[in-house]
């Protein structure tokens, strides 16, 4: 197979590419010696964690690096035999969007908010296609139909904010494929999308590519997506290629220890055996929770449509149990975490913590009750006050609840060790830590109050997969050691499968299915849950089990 690969004339061939970073960066080269080829009709996945330099390679091919700070220092890029690095800017403009096109990660921001969808598709046609307005319009409408947008005519006239995220990404694809380019570069095109939408988009890219026979350079961090779409895989680490080969080989029989470690970090879809929990007491119980984000104001401010985020939600969490709340964006799962902790006021319902209704507490009582229910947040950048030292961040809760400040700080240092950080971290500020380390600090902060329940809102979704695995492992260890009860909100079904004893699946503010993780994952009953499960990227691929500690 790999012999075949070498024989065909490649669309894209990169040899020994080096991209230099400005002085004072943490390393001299963002990419150091990248070589790869993309053949016609082939999807080459470039996988790597953040900071691996994968996105810059796209910039180099498009000749859109932020020069002069970042530039190609060495190597060559050939596109259909032509040396791209030797092209003039005007020649490159003729190639971009025409013979090489690109789609980006954020469909929300990648389209100009002030121009209609039609105008933006028309722009690429106008730039490269000598055709009359009516002809271009027809072509644009055809493209919108090809990317399966329901009503091309009205989408053509819509502004980007008027269509959904998934549709915006379809528009981007329509734009990218409008002129049947030979090469398409897709930079994390599905990362910002929900799983069901993600699968649709991946399928769409696959189909269209088969029709056009273009080559695709697909950049991603997600091995599930790789398993779904890749023909050939290139694994990057700190700007260097550690391994490349056919998808089946890299996924199922990785050679390099780094690839092995990465793949071992991908959570398995098989849930753990159910724990015997039926006789543990219920610590947290929600009954009939409802939250509507009301239309604010009347005459004086603009009216907005009322949105029901959560309707009539009930659940019970037993001591030592991990209850997963899973759903796509807009399902109301995050609202649940905020209602339970009363960071948002519910419209009705009750949240009982050891029998006491939190929602009936006065503000002063509530402040006292808070030490029993703590939270770990999603965004490691935003969840720690940047102006406080780590020790003060962790000790803040106990101090608020009347602990002796000196003791509380002493305790904080011990907690740091508990979350596997050096006590030297205590006197630093949050910006000096990596994302995973910050999440550890967030966990230490939550533990400092010795709560009965921890509510974790997407605690690992912003982390690289290898770091994610370590934080999840820490969380699971602590849970088992301290017999914690965990309400775990996540969009990532793999993570839920790995950590949760039971799950509730939410859609549009309602629970569509609940049960033990084993039941829900192996035998989903509700059609929505079934769709969700069948949309997990790479669901048919089981990461090879390896003892990576030996590496």
């Amino acid at each position: 197979m790999s012999q075949d690969r070498q024989d065909t004339a490649p669309i894209l061939e990169i040899r020994d590419l080096k991209i230099a970073l400005p002085e004072g960066s943490d390393r001299p080269f963002a990419l150091d010696g990248l070589s790869l080829r993309v053949n016609p009709g082939e999807i080459v996945c470039m996988v790597g964690e953040s900071g691996s330099g994968k996105s810059l390679s796209a910039g180099a091919v498009m000749r859109l690096l932020p020069e002069p700070h970042v530039y190609v220092a060495d190597g060559s890029i050939h596109f259909e035999g032509d040396d791209l690095l030797a092209k003039s800017e005007a020649e490159m403009r003729g190639i971009r969007g025409n013979r090489i096109s690109m789609i980006f990660q954020e469909p929300m921001t990648a389209l100009n908010p002030q121009k209609t969808v039609g105008w933006q598709i028309d722009e690429v046609l106008k730039l490269h296609m000598p055709a009359k307005r009516a002809e271009r319009r027809k072509h644009a409408l055809d493209m919108l139909a090809r990317v399966q947008i329901p009503d091309p005519e009205s989408a053509y006239n819509a502004y980007p904010h008027q269509i959904s995220g998934g549709q915006r990404q379809r528009v981007m694809i329509a734009m990218a494929l409008a002129l049947s380019p030979r090469l398409m570069i897709a930079d994390e095109p599905t990362t910002a999308l929900d799983v069901t939408t993600q699968l649709q988009i991946l399928k769409l890219i696959r189909e269209l590519q088969r029709e056009d026979g273009a080559g695709i350079l697909f950049i991603t961090h997600d091995f599930g997506v790789v398993a779904e779409i890749a023909d050939h895989v290139v694994v990057l680490r700190h700007g260097e290629v550690v391994e490349q080969g056919p998808a089946a080989q890299v996924l199922n029989d990785p050679r390099h220890p780094y690839t092995q470690a990465l793949i071992a970090s991908v959570p398995d879809l098989a849930p753990p055996a159910p724990k015997p929990l039926s006789d543990s007491p219920v610590v947290l119980k929600g009954t009939g929770l409802k939250k509507t984000f009301a239309a604010r104001g009347g005459l004086l401010t603009g009216k907005r449509k009322a949105v029901t985020a959560v309707k009539d939600l009930s659940f019970a969490l037993r001591r030592g149990e991990t209850l997963g709340v899973v759903g796509e964006s807009g399902s109301g799962k995050t609202t649940v975490s905020r209602l339970v902790t009363r960071l948002l006021e519910a419209d009705s319902g009750a949240v009982e913590l050891d029998g006491a209704d939190l929602l009936a507490c006065t503000p002063a009582q509530m402040r006292a009750m808070r030490k029993n229910i703590q939270m770990v947040f999603q965004d490691p950048m935003a969840s720690l006050n940047p102006r406080k030292r780590v020790v003060d961040l962790i000790a803040q809760g106990p101090i608020v609840h009347g602990a002796n400040p000196a003791e509380a700080r002493e305790n904080a240092r011990e907690l740091l060790e508990l979350v596997e950080l050096s006590p030297a971290a205590a006197n630093r500020f949050p910006h000096e830590f990596s994302g995973g380390q910050r999440q550890r600090i967030g966990i230490a902060r939550a533990l400092a109050l010795e709560p009965k329940v921890i509510v974790a809102d997407e605690p690992v979704s912003a982390l690289d997969v290898s770091v994610q695995a370590q934080v999840l492992k820490l969380l699971a260890d602590l849970r088992d050691r301290m017999n914690l009860s965990l309400l775990f909100v996540t969009h990532d079904l793999r993570v839920a499968a790995q950590l949760c004893d039971s799950v509730i699946v939410m859609q549009k503010g309602e629970i569509v299915e609940s049960g033990t993780a084993a039941e829900v994952f192996t035998n989903p009953q509700h059609p929505y849950t079934q769709t969700l499960m069948s949309s997990i990227p790479g669901r048919d691929w089981t990461p090879p089990v390896r003892n990576t500690d030996a590496a």
Binding site: L262, S383, E432, V467
Partner: protein, 292 residues
């Protein structure tokens, strides 16, 4: 997991002050601003020491040109008052009015903006309508009116300048608070049981400070301009030398002795410029997101 270990700490970074200064000094214009500012402060502090004499009393022959008489190196005005001495004492008044009026404006602005931005809802509606009302009245006209009512004493002038300048910082603080109040670290603190007052002043305000500090330099510049305009129109405190007043007096002799107006005018331009440059430097140093 020896190959990817996330728990190892990065080397410690230098202290905030060091980082701040390193970023600040990268901007050469900001350094110039700092130097100019230091000169103005020095002038204000040494008024009366270096250049003896009351700036409001006769020091030499009227309308002596600059660089003619060493006793009055920058010349004298039509009443024989020493221009250099006026510059020094004027620096004192400009800075005093600038600093105090800025403090007044920022204090009002922070309180109104913080309450409106943090609580939102009807509190925000009420406070914002009041802010809009203040913003709708042309600020210099309101300033004139306040001075007409309160009188021309320097204390009242300073207060009046503060009162007409708080709306912009209020809006800015409100916007900062609206974006910060939804940050997870605020939720985290609330979830620890921290009270509203502490949330506003201990959690959010310190994070809103950098833009407030940058904005203070803008208000300082505008306050100095407002004070000098009042003094130029003859509505300043007659008991103190003021650059604006010197220009106002110089206007009468513009045809024959234009330097009487030009010298204090340049002083104002340089002082205000120093604040603008200072502000830009602070902005670069405090909000390092922007590219250099």
């Amino acid at each position: 997991m020896s190959i990817i270990d996330d728990t190892r700490l990065r080397p410690a970074e230098p202290s905030r002050a060091v980082v701040f200064w390193n970023r600040y000094r990268r901007n050469r214009a900001a350094l110039l601003g700092l130097v100019l500012f230091a000169v103005v402060v020095l002038m204000a502090l040494t008024a009366g020491l270096v250049d003896p004499g009351d700036p409001l009393r006769r020091a030499g022959a009227p309308l002596t040109a600059p660089f003619v008489d060493m006793a009055t190196p920058l010349g004298t005005d039509q009443l024989g008052r020493d221009i250099l001495s006026g510059l020094f004492y004027g620096a004192r008044i400009s800075l005093l009015v600038g600093v105090v009026a800025t403090l007044v404006a920022i204090a009002i602005g922070v309180v109104i903006g913080a309450l409106a931005g943090y609580f939102g809802g009807w509190v925000d509606d009420v406070l914002m309508r009041i802010t809009e009302a203040f913003q709708t009245i042309p600020n210099f006209v309101l300033l004139l009116t306040l001075v007409a009512i309160l009188g021309s004493k320097i204390e009242w002038i300073t207060l009046a300048i503060g009162i007409v300048s708080w709306t912009a910082p209020a809006r800015m603080v409100r916007a900062e608070f609206m974006s910060l109040r939804n940050r997870e670290f605020v939720d985290a603190a609330r979830n620890l049981g921290v009270s509203n007052t502490s949330l506003i002043f201990r959690e959010i305000l310190p994070n809103a400070l950098p833009p407030i500090i940058v904005y203070a330099s803008v208000i300082m510049a505008l306050s100095i301009l407002l004070e000098s305009a009042l003094a130029f129109l003859g509505l300043g405190d007659p008991n103190y030398a003021s650059w604006g007043n010197m220009i106002g007096q110089g206007r009468a002799v513009l045809r024959t002795a234009w330097y009487c107006a030009a010298i204090p005018g340049i002083a104002i331009v340089l002082t205000v410029l120093s604040f603008s440059l200072l502000g830009e430097g602070l902005n670069d140093a405090l909000n390092p997101r922007q590219k250099q």
